[in-house]
């Protein structure tokens, strides 16, 4: 019989994926084993509802809660710190793997610790790379963001100022979208666009406002997943038609295939896929940044830098994907990871946004100037949670049953996702577009025509989707608070 030793599992990051992994590890591992969470943040944030914070329908308090009481109740060792380096082979004095962390908690700020681990889950999510576009983001001061609850509160305040100007009779241009040619999360930009448009109608100032969506997508409805096809009233329809119709109905303009080059006060300069360079003036701009990995380093036992072996060039961690460079036509569903185990260090996993995707989902394109204008693959909350749980179950089996290989898998080619873009908060006056897709990454071998199951892929506008958005908000916050029966709620 397998005699398991006392083990320490360290989870880096407490977003959807890391927090889910930590809760499941704690649920399944006895108290003799340690579960440690390292995250620079003191609060958990239900990021999809930041959109509502960004238009003033919710506050930061509605979408966040402190992590410390949850982890204390669940007997999870919580370190408010950020990881800066891993030493998966240990160092010259000890073969025990460690992660170097720097505390961000006010009482220990700047303190460095080398934390030993038996299993490591990297769920550090993305770095919001505003620096990739000069002038982009709230720190530069020219555009706002809804990526964090703080950003969203700032966006809401700026939006309120613009609405006051409209009420005073001034015309205003609202520019919302992606702030770089390689951005992801088009769904969030799309949702924020229609929330702003809804707010303008609610305030009776829509007629003086121009709302423009700027995106790196090749066509509307791409969403970084190469668009969707679904059955509707006896036809197979596309997310392009679905999305264009919504833009038409709400009078929203669109600039497609755009790489934002720089943002100046009141003006965005951008290049389109045909190589043309243009600019557009705005009064209010919410532009998302591109993502990279958080940028921590890796060293071998002798202290040599092995970051490029453990991480992809974009800073995300390599896992069991096929990273061979190949043309779009040769991309396969089987390129995508299933276990999220690092190929070199078998006790290291990357979950959620932190794993390196093998390639984009949308067809890669560049302008004649060589500028890449292609959405990066989105990894939304649902798959991030599923991956966190999957990795936790594998580690449980390694610790408790002595499994030598991953025992659970969750491929984006076998998982679905839902995108619900909801506008307004009233249960009877709000509206929403719901889209589901199965699978997330198209599998043209299994579904030759459209890459996805058109019966499980779906799009609809109506109050029902709006109610679903409310349900998801409360259910996921309940689950993340680890309240009774949390584990029965799906990711």
């Amino acid at each position: 019989m397998w005699e398991h030793a006392v083990a320490r599992a360290v989870v880096l990051g407490a977003g959807v994926s890391g927090h889910t992994a930590a809760l499941y590890l704690r649920k399944y591992l006895g108290r003799e084993h340690e579960v440690v969470v390292v995250t620079p943040n003191s609060k958990w944030n239900w990021i999809p509802s930041n959109i509502w914070v960004g238009v003033g329908e919710m506050t930061k308090k509605d979408v966040t809660f402190p992590l410390a009481p949850i982890y204390k109740r669940k007997h999870i060792d919580y370190r408010q710190a950020r990881a800066v380096a891993i030493r998966p082979e240990g160092n010259e004095s000890s073969p025990k793997p460690t992660v170097e962390i720097v505390y961000t908690a006010p009482d220990r700020s700047g303190m460095v610790e080398h934390l030993e681990y038996d299993y490591l889950i990297n769920a550090t999510g993305p770095k919001l790379n505003f620096g990739a576009t000069p002038g982009l983001g709230p720190d530069a001061g020219n555009s706002v963001s809804v990526c964090t609850a703080d950003h969203a509160e700032h966006a809401s305040a700026e939006l309120a100022k613009a609405i006051e100007k409209l009420k005073a009779g001034q015309k205003q241009t609202f520019l919302i979208g992606t702030g770089h040619g390689t951005c992801t999360c088009q769904g969030a930009a799309f949702e924020y666009t229609f929330n702003v448009e809804h707010e303008l109608r609610q305030h009776g100032v829509r007629d003086r406002a121009e709302v423009i969506y700027i995106t790196n997508e090749y066509e509307l409805g791409d969403f970084g997943v190469a668009g969707l096809h679904f059955e509707q009233q006896g036809f197979v329809s596309s997310s392009q038609t679905f999305t264009e119709s919504l833009f038409h109905e709400r009078g929203v303009r669109a600039i497609l295939r755009a790489h934002v080059e720089r943002v100046e006060p009141g003006k965005v300069h951008y290049e389109t896929l045909d190589g043309q360079k243009s600019s557009i003036a705005f009064d209010f701009a919410m532009l998302l940044p591109p993502f990279t990995g958080v940028g921590f380093q890796a060293f071998d036992r002798a202290g040599n830098d092995i970051t490029s072996e453990v991480f992809a060039p974009n800073g995300f961690m390599k896992v069991d994907a096929d990273y061979t460079k190949k043309p779009f036509e040769e991309w396969r569903a089987s390129d995508w990871p299933r276990t999220y185990q690092n190929p070199t260090y078998r006790n290291v996993f990357a979950a959620g946004i932190a794993f390196a995707p093998p390639h984009q989902i949308s067809k890669p394109r560049s302008s004649p100037n060589g500028t890449v204008i292609t959405p990066a693959p989105p990894r939304t909350g649902m798959p991030s949670g599923v991956i966190g749980r999957t990795v936790a179950l594998t580690i449980r089996d390694m610790i408790k049953k002595g499994a030598t290989e991953p025992t659970h898998h969750a491929s984006l080619t076998e998982e679905g996702a839902a995108c619900i873009a909801s506008a307004g908060k009233s249960l009877t006056k709000g509206s929403a577009a719901a889209m589901t897709m199965f699978p997330i990454v198209p599998d043209y071998e299994k579904y030759p025509k459209h890459g996805r199951n058109v019966k499980d892929t779906y799009g609809e506008i109506g109050l029902n989707a709006h109610w679903m958005k409310h349900v998801l908000h409360y259910v996921f916050i309940y689950k993340a608070k680890a309240l009774p029966g949390w584990w029965m709620l799906p990711e």
Binding site: L220, H248, E249, H409, T436, L463, N464, P490
Partner: protein, 48 residues
């Protein structure tokens, strides 16, 4: 006019009946149940 705007202007608009249906509570309750079943089925398929 940008490329996106040309496509948008020629895309289909919802009929008044469709717009009313989006806010019709009994109809939307049925659609809500359907959406719940869809999402549960999708989640179940994706869990291994």
């Amino acid at each position: 006019m940008e490329y996106g705007d040309e496509r948008i202007q020629s895309s289909p608009m919802p009929t008044p009946r469709t717009l009313r249906g989006r806010y019709n509570i009994p109809y939307q309750l049925l659609r809500f149940l359907r959406l719940n079943f869809r999402m549960i089925a999708m989640v179940t398929k994706g869990h291994h």
